[in-house]
């Protein structure tokens, strides 16, 4: 065996030795998995090479194979019979989609992104990924390669989609964290914030993809483990959505060169961070968006000329995953010395594992190679033939003529033992906060404080750094209103210029409710994403969802119990609303360990729901800014006394116990009816009622539109009796909206909404005064929209 390849001595290793090999090699394999490998090679009568064991570790990593979501879980809940769940993914996510069975779902969970129908010519693809661990260590590179990676997912779906929209959702520590309180070895949240935004900005803008939807959340528990969700929507011809690989096709790598960068990204992401993780610099890279743009330019031409049969991106695990996955049904043979390198001196396993950015692998019938090379030459993109797909059902890797890996596809992809994990969930008990009506008659400061809280405050300084207009298709901007600075609920784009058919993209995320119940957090995230879709003119009927779970260490039963709760909600609510999941991803082990104190911190259990909806006529879209004095303001949907995990409780230091419940029958009817009211032109503006409740939503509508409001809490329809002004004003009950109705449409609107709770709150006024009267008739808020707007705009201004 050549000096560049090492044999890993596992045949005679004891358990302790097996675990040492796993740990020291950053393999992130547990004992059971190491033993399985040992047994497999024992039967072959030889040790694995480093190339082989690394390939297995990548393929079996949590990051690549999502073993937690496929594992058997023994779950128990207080007062309930223990149950056995045979995989969270098949039981709750995949099953929901199968039962909903929407005919417009073209491809779900099987390709690099989900595919839904758009029009007679095109389909849409959508994928959201996370890049959390890299962004914690190197925010700029981590976030940039996050967006770069998810763009390649769209490009690697079907035979390649053209990227048309980016979304991004970030969760950071509190921006005012004192430096002395920073966990050892972590970056300050402000530094992470700045770096992540710059990374997404520079990559997205250079690629010429509008970044038009997102969210930024803050919580102290994200300090050591920030979350960076990057999403991409692409458009693809309907006859380019299928891929296949035939024996004899060439394995062709396209794009950037390979270096010693990003090695062990997949396995690194599958472990907890600690205060020494900052030393793992080589796992994070700096992206090159122009290289990726060149790949897109070249590949879309090759796609349209039918020059290749299959495509996938080189993401986690590099060539080992890309070729391993593509070749799974047939087999593949690769010659590593052919790989175009950035510099000399890489060991074969490093070439094979490198996660160097901006590389794609395609399967090219040999007769098409010359034409492909011609395109690549014209676009100045490097393309290299690495080997061939075979019919051996083996993954065979050579270096300078010598075999360095020879693995059965069957063992590689199906040899992973299915783990059994324990999960428990116990509802927490938090101190309850009483209404403050007895001690105050004025909630103006509360409203200002809510508007200024970093989760609600304006994100304009970030949004402006993203090009949301490029490609020329934007119809509803992320910033709307009289001065283009109000917070839009969702964005709408027309990917085919000249067509009136549009795409709406929105998201929902409520980690604060996880502190009460992850079930309600997940349910509320789905409800919120759908509300955002409906609020700009979309319909629940035409909406698909993506689920992205970011969780703590799932090997701990309590963390896994929270995951089970959330997954159950995903099934229950999606099936109730009839909204299928088309793609999803999970990022686990978002925990930090201080190796000196042993202190362990997990992030709040965080589920991001992204929603995509096709809108038949963008001329029917609406925005959230009020349009004219004299119009009526209505609340749609019932308010309940549900302030557990609310921002109002939060600013007073409470969590509470009644997180917003979910009533999908009520919610579905509300959304369907409102949706048709909007498409019939009865609604002048509409805003989702969420963080900060009716108070914050109404204030945002008023200052975005540049008009005051005169409102009265007696108009709020309630589902249970609420005898507190502050609870009415700031409860975060689900399935609610605020709408603006012109006087001439008032009757038609009320008729249309029969059967749905809706109540008139007051009117839009032509003074800047924002007045809310309490139940007793006296004003409890009296201020101006300028003061409110300034409170909202100032905190994250720069």
């Amino acid at each position: 065996m050549s000096s560049t390849v090492n044999e890993i001595e596992i045949l005679n290793a004891d358990d302790a030795e097996l675990m040492r090999i796993s740990r020291e090699g950053t393999l992130s394999l547990n004992l059971n998995e190491m033993q399985t490998i040992q047994t497999h090679f024992g039967a072959l009568g030889r040790n694995p090479t480093d190339v082989e064991i690394e390939t297995i570790a990548q393929t079996w990593s949590e990051h690549c194979v999502h073993k937690t979501f496929k594992s058997i879980i023994l779950y128990s809940e207080e007062g309930e019979e223990p149950e056995q769940i045979d995989g969270l993914f098949p039981t709750y996510i995949q099953r929901a989609t199968e039962e909903i069975a929407k005919p417009w779902c073209v491809s779900v969970f099987s390709d690099n992104a989900g595919i839904i129908e758009f029009d007679e010519t095109f389909n849409l693809v959508f994928k959201v990924e996370t890049h959390n661990h890299p962004s914690a260590i190197e925010p700029y590179g981590g976030a940039g390669t996050g967006i770069g990676g998810v763009i390649r997912d769209s490009l690697g779906t079907g035979l390649g989609a053209k990227p048309i929209l980016n979304t991004d959702v970030f969760c950071f520590g509190m921006p005012d964290t004192p430096y002395a309180q920073l966990p050892k070895g972590t970056l300050h949240p402000k530094r992470v914030f700045k770096g992540v935004v710059a990374g997404v900005r520079d990559y997205g803008n250079r690629m010429g993809i509008p970044t038009a939807n997102g969210a930024i959340l803050f919580d102290a528990r994200y300090t050591a483990n920030p979350l960076v969700f990057c999403g991409n929507v692409g458009i693809i011809p309907r006859n380019r959505c299928e891929k296949s690989v035939e024996p004899g096709d060439l394995v062709v790598a396209i794009g950037g060169q390979t270096g010693r960068d990003g090695i062990h990204g997949a396995t690194f992401s599958s472990a907890e961070l600690d205060d020494t993780s900052e030393n793992l610099g080589s796992v994070v890279q700096i992206g090159n968006p122009i290289m990726e743009k060149k790949i897109v330019d070249a590949l879309l031409q090759a796609r349209d000329r039918n020059l290749y049969r299959s495509i996938t991106d080189c993401g986690a695990g590099g060539f080992s995953s890309a070729v391993g996955e593509m070749g799974e049904p047939v087999g593949a043979e690769v010659h590593l010395e052919r790989v175009s390198l950035k510099y000399e001196g890489l060991a074969p396993w490093e070439i094979w594992l490198s996660e160097a950015q901006e590389r794609m692998v395609i399967a090219v019938p040999p007769e098409n190679l010359p034409e492909l090379m011609e395109i690549c030459e014209a676009e100045v993109v490097e393309a290299t033939v690495l080997g061939t797909f075979t019919d051996t059902h083996r993954l065979q890797v050579f270096y300078e003529g010598e075999s360095v890996a020879d693995l059965e596809m069957e063992f590689l992809h199906h040899g992973l033992p299915k783990p059994v994990k324990q999960a428990v969930w116990q509802p927490p008990k938090h101190p309850e906060m009483p209404s403050r009506d007895k001690t105050t008659k004025n909630y103006t400061d509360d409203l200002k404080q809510l508007l200024a809280s970093p989760n609600i405050a304006s994100k304009e300084s970030v949004i402006r750094q993203y090009d949301h207009e490029v490609q020329g298709g934007i119809v509803i901007n992320p910033l709307v209103g009289a001065e283009n600075d109000g917070p839009s609920d969702a964005c709408v784009v027309t990917p085919v210029l000249g067509s009136r058919k549009g795409v709406i993209v929105a998201n929902g995320i409520n980690p604060k409710y996880s502190d009460v119940d992850p079930y309600l957090s997940a349910a509320s995230a789905i409800d919120e994403a759908l509300r955002n879709i409906v609020a700009v003119g979309g319909s629940v009927e035409k909406t698909a969802l993506l689920d992205n779970f970011c969780w703590g260490n799932p090997d701990k039963p309590d963390r896994l119990g929270e995951l089970v709760r959330a997954a159950k909600a995903c099934y229950d609510i999606a099936t109730a609303y009839g909204t299928p999941y088309i793609s999803g991803k999970d990022s686990l082990y978002n925990e930090y360990r201080d190796t000196t104190t042993g202190e362990q911190r997990a992030i709040p259990s965080t589920l991001l729901i992204s929603a995509i909806c096709v809108i038949p006529d963008i001329r029917r879209a609406v925005t959230m800014d009020v349009k004219a004095p004299g119009n009526f303001i209505y609340v749609v949907g019932n308010t309940y006394a549900e302030l557990g995990g609310s921002h109002y409780f939060g600013i007073h230091g409470f969590i509470g116990n009644n997180a917003p419940n979910i009533r999908p029958d009520e919610g579905k009817l509300t959304m369907e009816r409102l949706s048709t009211a909007i498409s019939s032109g009865l609604v002048r503006s509409c805003h989702d009622c969420s963080e900060g409740g009716i108070g914050v939503a109404a204030a945002e509508m008023a200052f975005a539109g540049g008009y005051g409001m005169s409102l009265n809490l007696n108009g709020i329809p309630t589902g249970d009796e609420i005898d507190a002004d502050d609870f009415l004003l700031f409860s975060e009950s689900n399935s609610r909206f605020i709408v603006e109705i012109e006087p001439q449409h008032r009757d038609a609107y009320e008729n249309h909404m029969k059967g749905v709770s809706t109540g008139c709150l007051g009117t839009v006024t032509d003074t800047p005064e924002f007045v809310v009267k309490g139940r007793a008739g006296a004003p409890i808020i009296k201020t101006s929209i300028d003061i409110l707007k300034s409170a909202w705009q100032t905190p994250l201004h720069s």
């Binding site: 750094q465 020329g472 001329r619 800014d625 503006s685």
Partner: protein, 267 residues
């Protein structure tokens, strides 16, 4: 006659080519997206076209400075072709990154009329980093100036268009600025000097200029992003007050003017 032919130049990092293509097609042109390698190799002949459009993007990543590498490539490899194209009375438009390229090649504002010793293709003005020191995307009000620019005939006195750039601050030596004013080469100004109406701190609020003939035009705002009225960021507010008969966005006229000019002047 056949429709005017527009060559939309592409290279690594060009990214507003598709919407620029759509704009010219809506205006009635026949278009071709051409990689600069194909012009250099001679596979495509620039002389076959009447309009050269350099779209927005980040050509070669805007490494060193925005547009500079593409400008150098054009100066070194296409000077003769470009000079002949301009001498033949044809049209050139550069939008955003394309404007940055035209300024760095010296095609804009063109050689000084008073100083014939300046060689052609000499850079005399620049587009520097925004005073905000970062990339910004926002809509701005522009005032259309009296100018010989053939692209802006009949454009409203005030136009609303988006900008999206980090390096858009137009700046030049005092004498060059005076010359631009004297020759009426300023085509668009930001409507006010205050940030953010002047989004980048440009001298004399300059948003776009032309050469002395009016046939070479560069601007930082993106007219190709305002082709229908639903692109306007406040169309939901304007819907009821605006004339709803026309669905055309205010950016399209610039491309139509180019097509009409070619039809009338370049048989």
């Amino acid at each position: 006659m056949t429709n005017p032919k527009v060559l939309i130049l592409r290279t690594a990092g060009t990214n507003c080519d598709a919407e620029t293509d759509t704009a010219f097609q809506l205006a009635g042109a026949e278009t071709a997206l051409v990689h600069i390698q194909n012009l250099i190799s001679g596979r495509v002949n620039l002389a076959d076209y009447q309009v050269l459009a350099i779209p927005g993007g980040f050509s070669y990543g805007d490494d060193i400075a925005a547009g500079i590498l593409l400008a150098i490539e054009m100066k070194h490899k296409l000077t003769d072709l470009l000079n002949r194209f301009v001498a033949d009375g044809k049209l050139v438009i550069g939008i955003c990154n394309g404007f940055q390229v035209l300024v760095r090649t010296g095609l804009l504002p063109g050689i000084s009329a008073s100083d014939s010793s300046t060689p052609e293709m000499t850079q005399r003005t620049t587009l520097a980093m925004n005073t905000s020191a970062r990339f910004e995307c926002r809509w701005v009000d522009l005032e259309t100036q009296e100018s010989p620019c053939v692209f802006t005939k009949g454009v409203k006195p005030r136009v609303y268009l988006p900008v999206a750039h980090a390096e858009g601050r137009f700046t030049a030596p005092t004498d060059v600025l005076a010359e631009l004013e004297a020759n009426h080469q300023v085509v668009f100004r930001y409507a006010e000097s205050e940030y953010p109406i002047n989004p980048n701190g440009s001298d004399a609020d300059i948003a776009g200029i032309c050469d002395a003939t009016g046939r070479i035009f560069g601007l930082m705002p993106h007219p190709e992003r305002f082709l229908t009225k639903w692109n306007h960021p406040r169309w939901t507010r304007l819907a009821e007050t605006q004339d709803t008969a026309s669905e055309e966005g205010d950016g399209l006229v610039i491309f139509k003017n180019a097509v009409n000019y070619v039809k009338a002047n370049l048989p």
